[in-house]
């Protein structure tokens, strides 16, 4: 082993990495929020009484879950302008992330909804709650509470996925790191530090999300 490690050029560029990390958090947070909303809509469609709606939701979910995120990003960013939809890298990144994670979220939320017993819905209606309120308080909220740990792992996986949007020039953490690599050629050190930052970010996300869960779902169960 005749390689001398030199991390100094990477630490000198800490400001660039910090900016990148912030962008990663930003993209992830927005996509998570939007993805959760779309995911719940998809779940509703997936369980809708109309067959075409169900077919659409299933088709969408399976298409997304069975193709790589990277290809989806390329398709949206490079392919869609041919159809007249031109997005800048950040918009394309957030759109693809949202579309991608909504499919996974829909599957997770569905399994939560299936755990709600029909009797509860009937009980809610009997209590005079409106249909939207029944779905809000008796179906989705407890359902999401039941599957919240799975949702959190999905969110963390999604945050890690943002590393791929560098390839369409979205300026997040990996992009910043590759820019440093391109100037220092200290590839191993760059990616090593990058991995460590992502590890810290994923731990922070886990902790942060479970805290949000504890606050939002802090109502008695039984």
């Amino acid at each position: 082993m005749n390689y001398t490690f030199d991390f100094t050029p990477i630490f000198q560029a800490w400001g660039l990495l910090a900016q990148g990390a912030w962008a990663t958090v930003y993209i992830s947070a927005i996509s998570m929020a939007l993805g959760l909303v779309f995911g719940i809509v998809l779940t509703a469609l997936r369980m809708a009484p109309l067959a075409p709606l169900r077919a659409f939701a299933i088709g969408y979910i399976e298409l997304v879950r069975n193709t790589p995120f990277l290809v989806q990003v390329f398709f949206i960013y490079f392919g869609m302008p041919e159809l007249g939809l031109r997005l800048n890298a950040m918009e394309a990144a957030i759109l693809t992330m949202t579309l991608n994670c909504s499919a996974y979220i829909a599957e997770i939320v569905r399994s939560g909804v299936e755990s709600i017993r029909p009797g509860q819905i009937e009980a809610g209606k009997a209590l005079g709650l409106s249909t939207p309120d029944v779905y809000r308080f008796i179906v989705f909220r407890p359902a999401i509470r039941a599957v919240y740990p799975s949702l959190c792992s999905q969110f963390v996986l999604m945050m890690l996925n943002t590393s791929l949007v560098a390839s369409i020039s979205a300026q997040e953490l990996t992009y910043a790191a590759q820019m440093i690599d391109n100037r220092t050629f200290r590839s191993f050190e760059v990616y090593f530090v990058l991995g460590a930052i992502y590890l810290v970010l994923s731990q922070l996300f886990s902790v942060g999300l479970s805290m949000i869960g504890r606050v939002y779902f802090s109502y008695p169960t039984k």
């Binding site: 005749n2 400001g15 490079f78 041919e82 369409i168 020039s169 300026q171 391109n182 220092t184 050629f185």
Partner: protein, 275 residues
């Protein structure tokens, strides 16, 4: 959310001061290649007409012809290894390839990590933009979104040339950069003179034009630091095959090959300085 050029400049300045060390553990000589009967040559296949995939799925282009010429001269079979802008220097330093024939810009920073051979081609670094964009000099770039191949030498050059705060978008490779211009994701791009050939070929050439030349772009092959025999052989090759290289350049680039320098500031083509 933008990582601005101003910031880039500070970082670049700090980083360029660092030094690099090279490993000679993976050394290879022309004789060893002859013994093996093949040479693994790193070529870049995403920059038409320098390197691209033809309809038979084979590697084609100026660099491929040059690499074949070298292989024939060495008396070995060429084995092509497709590099990307991001991995071409590591692919050499980590020993994935024996040497690079990559139409790679010679820069003093890169010369600290890899050993450049005497230049074999050139290609002005040019700003390409929509015909109606008013760009005639570096200062004008600030008003537009500029695309660039981010693994290339163009990117640091653009960062230095463009005014502070210019919005710069870095793409994976040359073709993707051109694609970004054609699909309207950026207003202008900075890169090879030969982007024009690509733009013409897509049939959308009318709407775009070359605005001005940013800098020279001298391109050279590269070997690992310390591979002195490989370097001497390739330096000799480039000198001996002047006429053939002229011919190939004309065939692919459609112009006469310009006179190339044999010395550049900060770059040692002999492999002997510093030893």
């Amino acid at each position: 959310m933008c990582i601005t050029t101003g910031f880039k400049k500070i970082v670049a300045g700090a980083l360029m001061a660092t030094t690099f060390m090279a490993s000679a553990a993976l050394a290879i000589t022309p004789d060893e290649l002859r013994e093996k009967g093949k040479a693994v040559i790193g070529v870049q296949m995403d920059q038409f007409p320098w390197g691209f995939i033809d309809e038979a799925g084979k590697n084609e282009g100026f660099d491929i012809d040059v690499a074949k010429l070298i292989a024939a001269d060495l008396g070995v079979e060429p084995e092509f290894f497709r590099i990307t802008g991001q991995n071409r220097i590591p692919s050499l330093t980590t020993g994935q390839v024996d040497f690079l024939v990559p139409s790679m810009t010679v820069t003093a920073e890169r010369a600290q990590v890899i050993q450049f051979v005497l230049p074999y081609s050139s290609n002005n670094i040019t700003v390409w933009a929509r015909t109606d964009a008013e760009i005639t000099k570096n200062e004008d770039l600030g008003g537009y979104v500029i695309g660039v191949n981010r693994g290339s030498a163009f990117e640091p050059i653009l960062s230095d040339a463009a005014p502070q705060g210019t919005e710069i978008r870095g793409y994976e490779d040359d073709a993707t950069t051109v694609q970004a211009l054609l699909s309207g994701q950026v207003d202008a791009i900075v890169g090879s003179k030969t982007y024009g050939i690509v733009i013409q070929n897509t049939g959308r050439g009318d709407g775009y034009e070359a605005k001005y030349k940013v800098a020279d772009n001298i391109q050279a092959m590269a070997v690992r630091k310390g591979d002195q025999e490989m370097l001497d052989y390739l330096n000799d090759f480039v000198t001996r095959h002047d006429a053939e290289l002229d011919e190939l350049y004309l065939k692919w680039i459609g112009q006469d090959r310009a006179d190339l320098p044999t010395e550049l500031p900060g770059v040692d083509f002999t492999g002997k300085a510093g030893n």
